[in-house]
Symmetry: C2
Subunit: 206 residues, 2 copies
């Protein structure tokens, strides 16, 4: 039997990444224009950047932190986005959001992307911290997700294991940043590469 | 007396940076479209990235090195550029090229940009190492530059002092990457931000 569906784009992001948030608002439209679906994958910059690559957190890197603050706000202005978070404020622990995402992706797959949008929106438009299971369960959840069930799941062992294995799988794919988009095996890093993703899909690579 | 000339764009680059090379091929055209000149500044990633920021060289960073190799070759293919250097080969010492650039900028200012193009072309299109004063003096120099004079200058104390003070000045401006372009005080990092530079100039910012 032949498969007629083209393979999905793979979209990797960390909820603590403003550039991941920005890409989350555009990736579905780009994929749809080329008849592609998107599989969403939350990953952890704290594992790839800090542990595997041996670098520093962006906002703890001299010179670059000043640039990133300016660049993020410039992007938000250009795209008319509300941006409710102080880029200099300490970032929240990403584990509860990542665990929630992967648990929902497993148990309520149709709700995983709506949940990701809700979490990104709460973190970056509203500027809310998502540091605990209660914080995550308190966002504007998609219809069909029960806050109490989600909260309990985030605190359970399965969600932690799902996130851990997703992060391991992402590292095996060479994923290190947020956003990264993989199109038919070809990786693109950074929200400013989205036009290249679009062109790659249109031309079938180059 | 009023100044009627708009201020130049400031273009920062390191000769060891393929992305700096890529930007060097497009920056003058973007600036000219908006009636701007470009002041070119060579800087040293080895000072900003390694010493000030405490990070690693790109090609010594796990995961990122694989991505950069792929991304650089993809950019070259997209833009129809010959690319003669093995991205994985050890990079040459950038000091002779940087010293040559700043000495020429001081003593033969009209030849500094032609020299920068010649050095970038030798390093990245031809794949030549520019590790010594002799290597630098052996590139296809712009008419008006004497190879023996240049070679002696690179080895003299003035060129070293000029590069050192240019690098210090760039760090004070918050410059850390290659390429970085500063438009009326607004910094843009990365060759993929050139469309934003163009739009910023067209709209007068946003």
């Amino acid at each position: 039997m032949l498969r007629h569906m083209p393979s999905p784009l793979h979209f990797y992001f960390d909820f603590i990444s403003p550039y991941g948030y920005f890409a989350s608002l555009r990736i579905e439209e780009i994929a749809a224009r080329h008849g592609r679906a998107v599989e969403w994958h939350s990953m952890l910059l704290g594992v790839s950047v800090l542990k595997v690559m041996g670098l520093k957190a962006l906002m703890e890197t001299p010179l670059k932190s000043d640039y990133v603050r300016l660049d993020v706000l410039r992007y938000a202005r250009k795209h008319g986005l509300e941006f409710g978070r102080d880029v200099d404020a300490p970032i929240f622990n990403p584990l509860p959001a990542g665990r929630a995402f992967h648990w929902v992706k497993r148990h309520h797959p149709a709700l995983a992307v709506p949940l990701a949008h809700a979490l990104f929106d709460a973190a970056w438009r509203e500027g809310r911290d998502l540091a605990t299971a209660a914080d995550v369960a308190a966002v504007h959840l998609p219809v069909g997700l029960d806050a109490d069930e989600l909260r309990a799941a985030i605190e359970g062992p399965e969600a932690a294991a799902l996130l851990r294995s997703a992060v391991e799988a992402s590292l095996k794919q060479g994923i290190f940043g947020s956003p990264m988009i993989v199109v038919d095996g070809e990786p693109f890093w950074g929200v400013e590469r989205l036009p290249d993703v679009d062109e790659w899909l249109a031309r079938g690579g180059w």
